[in-house]
C-alpha cells in the first residue's frame, strides 16, 4: 500500500510537470493550429532565468519564479510576433545570426568576435531569406504551409539551447531553491518538498490559466477565435491580442515547468527540455485542443509512469515472476508511449479532444 501511495504521489508531481508543459502546447495549438516546439526553448529559458535571478543575483527564490515567468512570457510573445506577423526574413536572419554567434563562441572565439560573426551572418541570411521570400511569395510562417511553421519552431528550440549554453555553459547547475532535498513524511510515504512545491506551482499556474480562459474577456475571445476565426474577427475581437495572450500564457506555464524541472534533487543543463518529449503522450492522450484534457492527460500519464516504474522494480506478490529487470531501466518511459498508441487506436483524437470542430 505504501508503495502504491508513494508511486501515486510521485506520479502526481510528475503529472503536474507534464500538465504545465502540455498546457503550453495546447494553448498555442488552440490559437494558431501550430505545434510550437519552441515551447521546449521557453522551458529551458525559464529554468535558467530562475537560476540566474535566484543564484547569480541572489534574489528571493519566489520572486525569481515571477521574474522568470514574466521574462519567458515576453520572450514567447516576441517570438510569436516574429513568426506569425509576416516578418519571415527578419526571423530567419535573427535566428541564423544568434546561432552563428553562439557557435563561434562555443568554438573558442571571444564574445566580441562572436557578436561580429553573428551580426554579419544575420544580415547575410536576412538578405538571402528576402530573396527566397520574393521568389516564392511567402510572407511569413503564417502563410507558409503549417509544416514550414512547425520547422521554424524547431529551429527556435535549437537556437535557444545554443544561446543558453553560450551564456550559462553546458555544465550541470544547481538551483538554490528553498526545498533542496528536504522531505515530509505522511505515514510511511515520503513526500519530497520539491515535489509538493511542483504540485502547488502547477495548481496555481493552471488555476490562473483556467480562470482567464473561462471568465475573462480575453479568455472568451480566445475560445471564440479558436472555434471560428472569422466570426470572432467580425465581433471586433483582435486576433493579434488573442495570439499574444496565448503565447504569453504558454510562456508562463513553460517557465513554471522549467523551474519545477530544475528544483529539488534535479540539476539543470541545456538539455533540460527532454522532458517535453516525455510529455507528448500526455498531450496526445489529452487531445491537442483541450486544456482540461492537458491536465487530465498529464496526471494520468504521470501516475501511470510511476506505477509502472515502481512495480517493474519490485513486482507485486501475485505476479508470476518477481524479476522484471529484463524490461530494461527506464521501461516506464517506453510504457507510456505504448499506452498512447493503444489509446489512439481506439480514440484517434485522444481521450478529451474534440473530434471535429462542431459547426451547427
Amino acid at each position: 500500500m505504501t508503495q502504491f501511495l508513494q508511486a501515486c504521489f510521485d506520479g502526481l508531481a510528475l503529472g503536474s510537470q507534464y500538465a504545465l508543459i502540455v498546457m503550453g502546447f495546447v494553448v498555442i495549438y488552440r490559437a494558431t493550429g501550430i505545434i510550437n516546439f519552441a515551447q521546449g526553448g521557453a522551458l529551458i529559458l525559464g529554468a535558467y532565468m530562475t537560476y540566474n535571478v535566484s543564484n547569480t543575483w541572489g534574489w528571493n527564490f519566489y520572486l525569481a519564479i515571477v521574474v522568470s515567468a514574466v521574462v519567458v512570457a515576453i520572450f514567447s510573445i516576441l517570438l510569436q510576433r516574429a513568426m506569425l506577423q509576416r516578418i519571415f526574413r527578419e526571423t530567419i536572419g535573427v535566428i541564423g545570426g544568434l546561432l552563428l554567434w553562439a557557435a563561434s563562441v562555443y568554438n573558442g572565439a571571444s564574445h566580441a568576435v562572436g557578436v561580429v560573426v553573428g551580426v554579419v551572418a544575420g544580415l547575410v541570411i536576412w538578405q538571402l531569406a528576402a530573396r527566397i521570400e520574393a521568389r516564392v511569395g511567402a510572407r511569413g510562417p503564417s502563410e507558409l504551409p503549417l509544416f514550414g511553421a512547425i520547422m521554424v519552431t524547431i529551429g527556435v528550440l535549437f537556437v535557444v539551447r545554443q544561446i543558453v549554453a553560450t551564456i550559462w555553459g553546458f555544465g550541470e547547475l544547481n538551483v538554490e531553491d528553498p526545498w533542496e532535498l528536504d522531505t515530509t513524511m505522511v505515514g510511511d510515504v515520503i513526500l519530497q518538498n520539491a515535489k509538493i512545491a511542483t504540485i502547488v506551482l502547477a495548481a496555481l499556474g493552471l488555476g490562473l490559466f483556467f480562470i482567464i480562459d473561462r471568465y475573462t474577456r480575453i479568455g472568451i475571445a480566445m475560445r471564440a477565435t479558436h472555434f471560428d476565426h472569422e466570426a470572432a474577427i467580425a465581433q471586433g475581437i483582435s486576433t493579434k491580442l488573442v495570439f499574444a495572450t496565448a503565447f504569453g500564457l504558454a510562456g508562463v506555464v513553460a517557465a513554471l515547468a522549467g523551474t519545477s524541472a530544475a528544483s529539488g534533487a534535479n540539476l539543470i543543463t541545456p538539455q533540460i527540455d527532454t522532458i517535453v518529449f516525455l510529455a507528448f503522450p500526455a498531450m496526445i492522450l489529452g487531445g491537442f485542443d483541450s486544456p482540461g484534457g492537458a491536465v487530465a492527460g498529464g496526471m494520468l500519464v504521470g501516475i501511470f509512469q510511476n506505477l509502472v516504474k515502481t512495480y517493474v522494480a519490485q513486482p507485486p506478490g501475485w505476479f508470476p515472476t518477481d524479476d522484471l529487470t529484463w524490461l530494461g531501466a527506464g521501461f516506464e518511459r517506453v510504457a507510456i508511449f505504448v499506452v498512447m498508441i493503444l489509446v489512439l487506436l481506439v480514440r484517434p483524437y485522444g481521450l478529451f479532444g474534440t473530434e471535429e470542430v462542431r459547426r451547427v
Partner: protein, 269 residues
C-alpha cells in the same frame, strides 16, 4: 444617385476581386440613410456576401480586395479599416449561416459580441436590451449555444451583433433555412430594432420578407446593381414578382423560365 447629407453608409462604385483574378463585384453603389431599413436582394452567387465583406473589412480573410471605389461610413472612408475599428465605429453584422460560437454558452456568445464595449454599464444595458428583444434566450443563458434550435441560434446571432449597440446592423440572409413562423418573428425583431434607432442593411433571397419591411431595396445580379426603388415599388414590380416572388401571370415560374429570363438579362443596363 445624388449624395445626401444623412447617408450613414455610402458604397460607391466598389469593385472586388478575389485571389487577384476573380472579379465578383463590378462597380456597386448603394446607400443606407440614418433610420432606414434597406434590403439587398439577389440570387445565390450574385455577390451579396462579398459586398458585406467589403463593407466590414473581412475580405482579407478570403484573399479578396477592393480594387476600385470606396466605402464611407458616417462620411469617413472605411474600406481599408481593420474590422475591429469598424465594429467600434458602430457597424455590426450577422453573418451568413449564423456563425454562433457553438461550443460557448449563450452568455459567452453575447459577451464575445460585446468585446469592443469597454464600459461596464453600457455592456450591461446592451445585455438587458437583448434579453428584452429575445425573451427566449433568458432561460438558456448558461446553455451551450450549439444545442439550441436553428431559430434560437439566429436570435442569438442577432443578439450578439446588437451587444455592441451598433448604428448600422448588417444581416446576411437571416431567414435562411428557418420555418415561416420564425422568419416572421425575425422580421418583426428587425423592425423593432430599427424603430429603436438602428439602421439596417438586410441581405436576403427571401424577397417577400425583405421587401415587406424595407424602406428601400436594391437588386444585385452578377456583381451589379440592376434595380433599386422603395420596398413598395419593388413589391409591385413585374420582374421582381416573376423572378423573386414567383407570382407571375401564370403563377409560379418554372426553372426553365427563370433560366431563359436570365438569358434575356432585361435588367442589365
Amino acid at each position: 444617385m445624388g449624395e445626401r447629407a444623412d447617408a450613414l453608409l455610402d458604397v460607391r462604385n466598389v469593385e472586388v476581386v478575389y485571389n487577384d483574378v476573380i472579379l465578383v463585384l463590378r462597380g456597386v453603389s448603394l446607400r443606407v440613410d440614418r433610420g432606414e431599413i434597406v434590403a439587398l436582394l439577389g440570387a445565390n452567387g450574385a455577390g451579396k456576401t462579398t459586398l458585406l465583406r467589403a463593407i466590414t473589412g473581412l475580405l482579407e480573410v478570403h484573399r479578396g480586395q477592393i480594387t476600385k471605389g470606396a466605402v464611407h461610413f458616417k462620411g469617413e472612408p472605411v474600406d481599408h479599416e481593420d474590422p475591429s475599428k469598424l465594429v467600434r465605429a458602430g457597424v455590426s453584422q450577422v453573418m451568413e449561416g449564423r456563425r454562433i460560437f457553438a461550443e460557448l454558452t449563450v452568455d459567452e456568445n453575447l459577451k464575445a459580441g460585446a468585446y469592443t464595449v469597454r464600459d461596464k454599464t453600457k455592456a450591461a444595458a446592451g445585455y438587458e436590451r437583448v434579453m428584452e428583444l429575445f425573451p427566449a434566450l433568458r432561460p438558456r443563458r448558461g446553455d451551450t449555444a450549439g444545442y439550441m434550435s436553428g431559430g434560437e441560434q439566429q436570435m442569438l446571432a442577432i443578439g450578439r451583433a446588437l451587444m455592441a449597440s451598433p448604428q448600422l446592423l448588417l444581416l446576411d440572409e437571416p431567414s435562411l433555412g428557418l420555418a415561416p413562423l420564425i422568419v416572421e418573428q425575425i422580421s418583426e425583431i428587425i423592425t423593432t430594432v430599427n424603430e429603436q434607432g438602428t439602421s439596417v442593411l438586410l441581405v436576403e433571397q427571401n424577397a417577400h420578407m425583405a421587401l415587406s419591411i424595407a424602406d428601400r431595396a436594391y437588386v444585385l445580379e452578377n456583381g451589379r446593381i440592376v434595380k433599386d426603388g422603395t420596398g413598395a415599388e419593388l413589391l409591385d414590380d413585374d420582374d421582381i414578382r416573376e423572378f423573386y416572388l414567383g407570382v407571375g401571370e401564370a403563377g409560379r415560374k418554372s426553372f426553365r423560365d427563370v433560366k431563359s429570363y436570365r438569358r434575356r438579362k432585361r435588367w442589365s443596363a
